[in-house]
């Protein structure tokens, strides 16, 4: 009997005495954020997280290259970029807005606000790491400070006035505190620039350890600063009273400074100068091909126009070449189906498989027409070019034998004859020559042909043009893994020259310094100099155009359009120049790819409608739900 009482006593008191211990079941060593900043190896992961959010410009569903008049897709394959250009932007589901998480196919692109929060966490905590030297911590911190500025810039580029998040708000922040406001453009630019400046001090001048390629250095920071200031000086953001005179926040603060300030160009110019000097000092120079020449070109490479072709093609795709200032070291075309390269590769007629060659990214006729003639002039400015008959067919002569099939029966449009090397390096056309897969073969783009539309498949180039520029010449399309991955250029030296030229011309007007900068870019690709092209009255319809500020401005813009084509710049350049109505509001055209004969194929037809509403579409809309959550935000005008 007594035993029983003891039993009861145990049962009834057991729990009560050890109550607290019983419920404390979480062991030590669970996963807390502090652990990211205990050791260097863990801190590396925290650093990787800060870099992780860099937008995937080489992903076919995330690249800005489609958000232009340069590139399009068959309707069934519409990428977010094409949807944007077709006027499908909405406040309910913003397209390509980096403010929100977006989920294009492939890797999702998360909100850059998450990136900025990760950066701030890193900056606040990196000093806690025990097994790192102070200088190293400083360097890492500076990289992240730069990234924070860069992420702000990417948002600024889309939204203009944006909130500034220099310090993270605590999780417990109250309702009113979390409703942060858009800040005026000048303040945003000032923040980005001063943050970049803050980062520069402790950054290495140039990353030299091959293991660290892709990490931030001083040259990258100064180069991006040049781009930021160029944007800030541009018409969209500088004194844009026509669009944004009444764009104010809820307290009446003007979000755009509507007074034009020429000095902004000077700042851009100085920044470009500084970056160029630093590039020069660090042996960063425009790329020239000096690799192993494939057998089929060992003789032809001596021809300047063939060399120029190699210069330009490898410039973009050769890993870590001398011109690359900042490349994204985390490319998607590392064996992934959603890379821009895989979608752009053309099928090798001799290959047994073509998994990595979708052949459906389609450069437009607008893009094809933007390139110069071999004389370095726009096609409508070159008196020797048959501009009016550019769509008419002609025989290919020996003059173009490096770029197109010759033969008595080969007829191609004048548009594809007598053009500058960058055209041939970037765009593939019917009966054109394609150097890739270690071979030289011909593109056959008509319906039913190897590169044309076959059956009713949706994998076809809707314009009849192939995009060569993003494809590494050594890539093979048999499997995704045989595509040669390369760091997508986030900024390269040629852009700095163009930034310099633009800023100089805007601030001081035409000058030899501007021509020199442009010529560097032109000559590398076998294009005659500005002076050679424009001073020759026998060639140029408008001779000496480069001697007026307006004329030179147009030349600079076209140079930029050609040199940086398909790299994701076009969408933002056209908008900062306020020229979207001219370029983005007209349909894009291509050849009639459902034609199987020369006569039925070479008919220009509209391949995609484009819609741009001014001024609404100059700035991205903020998502409707975000507007509701944050009542202190004002919507971008027109949305």
């Amino acid at each position: 009997m007594k035993k029983l009482y003891i039993c009861f006593a145990i049962i009834s008191t057991l729990g009560l005495n050890s109550c607290d211990n019983y419920l404390d079941i979480v062991p030590d060593k669970t996963q807390e954020i502090e652990l990211m900043f205990e050791r260097k190896e863990a801190a590396y992961r925290a650093l990787a997280t800060c870099y992780h959010y860099l937008p995937q410009e080489d992903g076919v569903y995330s690249t800005s290259a489609f958000a232009s008049d340069e590139l399009t897709t068959p309707i069934a394959k519409e990428t977010p970029g094409v949807e944007l250009m077709r006027g499908k932007q909405s406040v309910d589901k913003p397209i390509m807005g980096l403010w929100d998480d977006t989920y294009p196919y492939g890797r999702s692109q998360e909100s850059l606000w998450k990136a900025i929060r990760a950066c701030n966490i890193f900056i606040e905590n990196i000093d806690l790491v025990k097994d790192m030297k102070t200088e190293e911590k400083q360097t890492w911190k500076s990289e992240v400070i730069f990234l924070k500025a860069y992420y702000h810039f990417l948002l600024f580029r889309q939204y203009g006035p944006i909130p500034i998040v220099d310090v993270n708000l605590p999780i417990t922040a109250g309702v009113e505190e979390v409703r942060i406001k858009r800040k005026p453009v000048d303040e945003v630019v000032e923040y980005i620039v001063s943050t970049i400046d803050k980062s520069v001090e402790h950054l290495p001048t140039r990353i030299t350890s091959s293991n660290d390629f892709g990490r931030i250095d001083k040259l990258i920071a100064y180069s991006i600063k040049s781009r930021v200031l160029l944007y800030a000086a541009s018409p969209l953001f500088n004194g844009n009273a026509t669009f944004y005179d009444t764009f104010k926040d809820k307290e009446g603060v003007k979000l755009f400074n509507t007074t034009y300030d020429k000095e902004k160009w000077k700042k851009a110019l100085e920044a470009a100068e500084v970056a160029l000097q630093l590039a020069d000092a660090n042996n960063v120079k425009l790329y020239e091909f000096n690799g192993i020449v494939p057998v089929f070109d060992t003789l032809d490479i001596k021809q300047p126009e063939v060399k120029a072709l190699y210069n330009y093609r490898y410039m973009f795709t050769e890993r870590w070449n001398s011109e690359l200032i900042w490349g994204n070291s985390n490319p998607v075309n590392n064996g992934q189906w959603w890379s821009l390269q895989a979608a752009s590769m053309m099928i090798n007629p001799d290959a047994s498989a073509n998994e990595g060659a979708w052949q459906w990214t389609s450069p437009t006729i607008q893009a094809a027409e933007a390139y110069y003639t071999k004389n370095g002039l726009p096609i409508d400015e070159d008196l020797t070019f048959k501009y009016a008959n550019r769509y008419s067919l002609a025989r290919v002569t020996d003059a173009d034998k490096y770029h197109a099939m010759t033969g008595s029966t080969v007829m191609i449009p004048n548009l594809h004859l007598g053009r500058e090397p960058r055209f041939y390096a970037s765009i593939g056309f019917d009966k054109g020559i394609y150097r890739t897969w270690g071979q030289k073969w011909n593109l056959l783009m008509k319906k039913g042909e190897s590169h044309g539309r076959r059956g009713n498949t949706n994998d076809y180039v809707i314009t009849g043009y192939a995009l060569k520029k993003v494809c590494h010449p050594n890539s093979e399309g048999t499997t995704y893994s045989k595509l040669v991955a390369y760091p997508w250029p986030l900024i390269r030296l040629a852009e700095l020259y163009l930034n310099y030229a633009e800023a100089y011309n805007e601030y001081y007007g035409p000058d030899q310094k501007v021509y020199d900068a442009l010529n560097k870019v032109r000559v590398r690709s076998g294009v005659p100099t500005v002076e050679e092209a424009w001073e020759n009255a026998a060639l140029a319809k408008t001779p000496n155009k480069h001697k007026t500020q307006e004329g030179l401005r147009e030349i600079i813009k076209q140079e930029r359009r050609i040199e940086l084509a398909f790299e994701g710049h076009r969408n933002f350049d056209v908008r900062r120049w306020k020229e979207a109505d001219k370029y983005f509001n007209v349909p894009v055209t291509g050849w009639s790819v459902d034609g199987s004969t020369t006569n039925t194929f070479y008919i220009v037809k509209t391949v995609g409608q484009r819609s741009f509403i001014t001024p609404r579409d100059y700035l991205h809309p903020i998502k409707y739900s975000e507007m509701i959550v944050n009542s202190n935000l004002v919507q971008s005008p027109g949305w």
Partner: protein, 1031 residues
């Protein structure tokens, strides 16, 4: 038997005698029996208005003298309704006494103990377990309408997956869990455990609804408690009971699809109605060929539904129990077996069974041992073994797949031709590059085998401490429960074949070609293993004593701890044991059976909260007044009102099951997240993973609190009507929920949640019982149950919406939202003159749905969505039914209904022709077309592509979910005792019953109880034949 015979002879004799006796005799004799005819000994027989009286003898007989014609006799017996009979000229008065309704539940099961029925103040409903014997295999399906206070519905009829959803007093929190705590013999179990209970083994089934009733369960009882106790043995010889049932089940309603010809004609029409230029998809040749029933290989016309499913299936069930015992030990043993099958066809080509076939073995042993005069030990064992065999994909998805496959694409398989005659696989039909759903192939391509077992062992020791002080008892209980499941699916990949058309000289030549390669052999696909164990301890001290005849004092103190171990191991937190513990107590005081007071508390700790917020204290109190026991309540009043009781309770209940998170005070960070990494280096080789914050630490998170009040009335009328009504209110605060006002610019990788929500609910539930014995042979009982529960959100984390109707505040939880559909567009002019609908969404035209621009901003978008219809969980659930018996025959029926609920038809799953989907007959019968431009047609202008405009949630697709169904009908016959005696059988009853026989609803497409899931496995109509023996 002998006794019965003598009884009958005696009755006869007295009857005869009565004819002979003189009319004005002063002696009256007779026998008192219950409704089964058993004699009742000890019944008081009194002459009204005097003290003259007697009691019945052991065989229920009595004799009373000194009476005259004007006198009346009152027959009264504890637990039975009184009867008053005027003597008149009778000399023999035989009486059948009926058990009073309240007396059936004289003793009420309450938390951790039993209490006298009339002293219970909390809101507790008890169901007679026999009432739960309707659906043969799933107890949860019997709850709807049977118990006042339970909101319940069943969405699927798939065997094994057909648990009903149920809520006590409706949904009261929009937080995480709303399901009640289910206890079987004091142990917390899952809904499935409850579903598998054998009604024959249930001794009592109660639900506890208000704060005082659930207080002792502390944190676990906020959503109400279902308390089930199993039968125990009684002293006496072995009592054996056997029940065998065989049932035939079939779907209540089946979906109607188009035949091949109608399908193709309508497809072509749908194509042309949006694009008059479009090439016809189905050629005239194909349509005519199909109409004329030409070669079904080339002109298939497949009725997938009947190819896949049989119309009926038979299930069996057997149950046996033995109980009895001696002075020292009593036992109750039960074993049962059920075999439940699904409606899927099995192809002869496979030697495996792809149909659902569930075999369940259920074993229960409850043993009570009297260790000493004051010490009692109880051991309970329970074990359930569940063997499941079924298709590789779940059966519900096969039902839905019928919707995806049209009748004319291909036959279920092709016959082998010359080129394929030697292959040893089936030539499953498909077309193009494959990838069209062939539901038949999906169904027969494999099977799934699952084995699960549940074992519970429970040990309890009870000590009467009357030697210390009278009325004190101690009790301790320990139990463990173990569950394991293992599942393997085996299947092959079907070979798909298609038809090739080649233009030959003599016309088109058809041949079969392989589209995709499969496997001829089975491979094991998914496998799944789960195991968990739980341990539970409780100690109870109990004190009950009556002082001075009128002061009844009771006290109870409980301490318990529970631990659950699971095999979850997705991260460290989920792998840790789940624990909770608490102490709780109750004191009761009753004065003179008239006034009752009760105070309760629960004090709980939860592992989930930080130390400063870990414990919660939840008190409750109640008052009761039995008006009918007052002195002023005269006997005459009692004739009309036999019982009148008023009660009121108020209290707090806590809840820590507020989300699926484990430890709110800790953050959860993936410190090595491959999805957040980056790569550097020349050849992209310097690769690092990143980190991701999955949840942010919030040490302030604490208990969700429910403040509950209940006002109840119990009323007994004329001894045969019992009415019980409760009005309740509840206010939930501290509901853990997301703070939706956090903008994206915060940059958080996980939402932040805290105790910010608030909701209120109220309602009324009640029941009316009526029991009467018309005479010795005929008795009737009937019951009505009614539950109404509604709720509204008072506070949540929502942002400030620009339009008030966008807010959920003030709206019920589960309130559907959608656009207001005005009608279909009449013509293109109408489209042009109306606001733009979802600018970016795609085109729409005449015959598409026109929405109302609620905020009048000139465009239709998500900001025009308003609350529409009733909540998706019904606000009203009710049931009513009656049983009657005449001699050896008994009959009962039960209706069950639900009201005030809405659901959406999902247009994305039924829109015909999209991806060559099948079409429902109703769409063919009633759609907008140029010939029939009915702006209110069931289906808008047809299309072969999805029309995003028409797929928005809107009033167009909203339907009223209310229904009334004839839930059950039963007819039984018990063999007469005379016959049984010879066979040594105590009782034998044969019965036939039907479940889900009829349903009345405005909605005709499918069973309305399925709500939006109408293409799934339909609820079953069951015809059941059974017999029940007692030895």
């Amino acid at each position: 038997m002998k006794k019965t015979l003598t009884k009958l002879i005696f009755l006869f004799a007295t009857l005869l005698l009565s004819q002979l006796t003189f009319a004005q005799a002063s002696l009256v004799k007779g026998q008192v029996v219950d409704k089964e005819g058993n004699p009742l000994p000890g019944v008081s027989v009194f002459q009204l208005s005097s003290t003259n009286g007697t009691i019945t003898s052991i065989d229920g007989k009595y004799a009373i003298s000194n009476l005259n014609e004007n006198d009346s006799l009152r027959f009264s017996y504890v637990g039975f309704n009184n009867q008053v009979i005027k003597v008149g000229k009778q000399t023999i008065i035989n009486v059948v006494l009926l058990e009073s309704a309240s007396a059936l539940e004289e003793v009420q099961v309450v938390a951790f103990q039993t209490q006298k029925k009339n002293s219970v103040i909390g809101s507790i409903n008890t169901v007679n377990p026999t009432e739960l014997k309707i659906a043969p295999t799933n107890l949860t399906n019997a709850l709807a309408g049977k118990i006042a206070g339970v909101i319940s519905y069943q969405r699927s009829g798939e065997p094994g997956q057909d648990n009903a959803e149920f809520f006590i007093r409706g949904v009261t929190s929009f937080g995480y869990a709303n399901s009640p705590l289910i206890l079987i013999d004091g142990l917390e179990v899952t809904t499935t455990d409850l579903a598998r209970m054998e009604p024959d083994n249930i001794a009592s089934f109660s639900i506890m609804k208000d704060a005082t009733a659930t207080a002792l369960y502390g944190a676990r009882g906020a959503n109400g408690v279902i308390l089930v106790t199993t039968k125990t043995g009684k002293k006496g010889k072995a009592n054996i009971s056997v029940r065998i049932e065989n049932s035939i089940t079939s779907p209540t309603i089946t979906n109607q699809f188009l035949n091949g010809v109608d399908y193709m004609e309508l497809y072509n029409k749908a194509l042309r109605t949006r694009d008059p230029e479009a090439l016809l998809y189905y050629s005239k040749d194909k349509i005519e060929g199909t109409r004329n029933g030409l070669n079904p290989q080339i002109y298939p016309n497949v009725d997938w539904y009947s190819e896949l499913f049989r119309s009926t299936v038979q299930n069996q069930k057997a149950n046996m129990s033995v109980s009895g015992g001696g002075e020292v030990a009593q036992y109750y043993l039960s074993v049962s077996y059920t075999d439940e099958k699904g409606l899927l066809n099995v192809d002869k080509m496979n030697n495996f069974n792809n149909n659902i076939d569930i075999k369940r073995y259920n074993l229960r042993a409850n043993i009570d041992v009297n260790l000493t005069k004051s010490t009692k030990a109880m051991v309970k064992f329970y074990s359930l073994i569940d063997r499941y065999n079924g298709p590789q994909n779940d059966a519900g998805s096969i039902f839905s797949m019928v919707m995806q496959a049209n009748p004319v694409n291909f036959p279920k398989y092709y016959d082998k031709d010359e080129s394929t005659q030697f292959v040893n696989h089936v030539l499953f039909g498909n077309k193009g590059n494959g990838g069209y759903p062939n539901p038949y192939a999906e169904m027969v391509r494999g099977y799934k085998d699952r084995f699960s077992s549940t074992t519970t062992a429970q040990f309890q020791l009870e000590q009467d401490l009357s030697m210390i002080t009278k009325g004190l008892k101690l009790r301790g209980m320990a139990s463990l429960n173990s569950y394991s499941l293992s599942e393997v699916a085996r299947g092959f990949t079907p070979f798909y074949y298609g038809l090739k058309e080649v233009d030959g000289e003599s016309g088109v030549i058809h041949s079969i070609e392989q589209i995709s390669e499969g496997t001829e052999y089975l491979t094991t696909g998914t496998s799944n293993k789960t195991a968990n164990n739980s341990f539970y301890f409780e100690g109870v001290a109990q004190y009950n004593r009556v002082f001075g005849d009128k002061h009844d004092i009771g006290g109870l103190l409980v301490g318990y701890a529970r631990e659950l171990l699971t095999d979850a191991s997705s991260d460290v937190y989920s792998s840790l044991p789940f624990r909770n513990m608490g102490i709780s107590g109750r004191t009761t005081y009753a004065y003179d059976e008239r006034y009752f007071v009760e105070l309760n508390f629960g004090y709980n700790g939860s592992e989930k909260f930080s130390k400063q917020n870990r414990y919660g204290f939840f008190p409750s109190a109640g008052l009761g007044w039995v008006v009918s026991n007052e002195k002023f309540f005269t006997e005459t009043m009692k004739k009309a009102v036999s019982n009148l009781k008023l009660k009121a309770t108020y209290g707090l209940v806590g809840n820590d099951a507020i989300s699926s998170n484990r430890f709110y005070y800790l953050s959860s960070v993936n410190l090595n997240d491959g999805g957040k990494g980056h790569v550097w280096g020349e050849d992209f080789g310097n690769s690092y993973n990143g980190y991701n914050i999955n949840s942010y630490a919030n040490p302030a998170v604490t208990w969700e609190v429910a403040e509950k009040a209940n006002f109840g009335l119990e009323l007994g009328l004329f001894n045969n009507v019992n009415i019980q009504v409760d009005y309740f209110t509840e206010s939930r605060t501290n509901i853990y929920m997301q703070r939706d006002y956090i903008p994206a610019s915060m940059g958080l990788t996980a939402p932040i949640a805290s105790n910010i929500g608030k909701a209120e609910s109220h309602g009324i539930d009640g029941s009316v019982d009526y029991k009467v014995s018309v005479n010795k042979d005929l008795w009737i009982t009937s019951r009505v149950n009614f539950t109404y529960a509604t709720n509204q959100i008072i506070e949540n984390g929502e942002p400030q919406y620009p339009y008030p109707y966008m807010s959920s505040i003030g709206q019920p939880m589960n309130q559907p939202r959608g656009l207001v559909a005005e009608r279909l567009f009449i013509d293109e002019q109408d489209v042009l003159n109306s606001p733009v609908q979802y600018n970016q969404m795609g085109s729409y035209m005449a015959g598409d749905i026109k929405y109302v621009d609620v905020n009048e901003d000139g465009k239709i978008d998500d900001s025009d969505m308003v609350p529409i219809g009733f909540p998706t969980v019904p606000e009203i659930v009710y049931g009513f039914g009656a049983s009657l018996g005449y001699k050896n025959v008994d009959f009962s029926f039960f209706f069950q209904g639900s009201g005030r609920s809405s659901f959406f038809i999902d247009p994305t799953t039924i829109s015909p022709f999209v991806k060559e989907r099948n079409a429902l007959q109703i769409i063919a019968d009633n759609h907008w077309s140029d010939e029939n431009p009915d702006p209110n047609a069931f289906w808008p202008r047809m299309s072969v592509n999805a029309v995003a405009n028409n797929e928005k949630a809107s009033t167009w697709w909203l339907r009223d979910g209310s229904f009334l169904r004839l839930k059950s009908v039963e007819l039984g016959y018990s063999l007469p005792e005379k016959l049984l005696g010879k066979m040594n059988i105590e009782k034998a009853r044969f019965y036939a019953s039907g479940t889900n026989l009829l349903v009345f609803s405005k909605f005709k497409l499918w069973d309305p109880e399925m709500g939006g899931k109408g293409l799934g496995y339909p609820p079953q109509r069951i015809i059941n034949i059974g017999l029940n023996f007692n030895f």
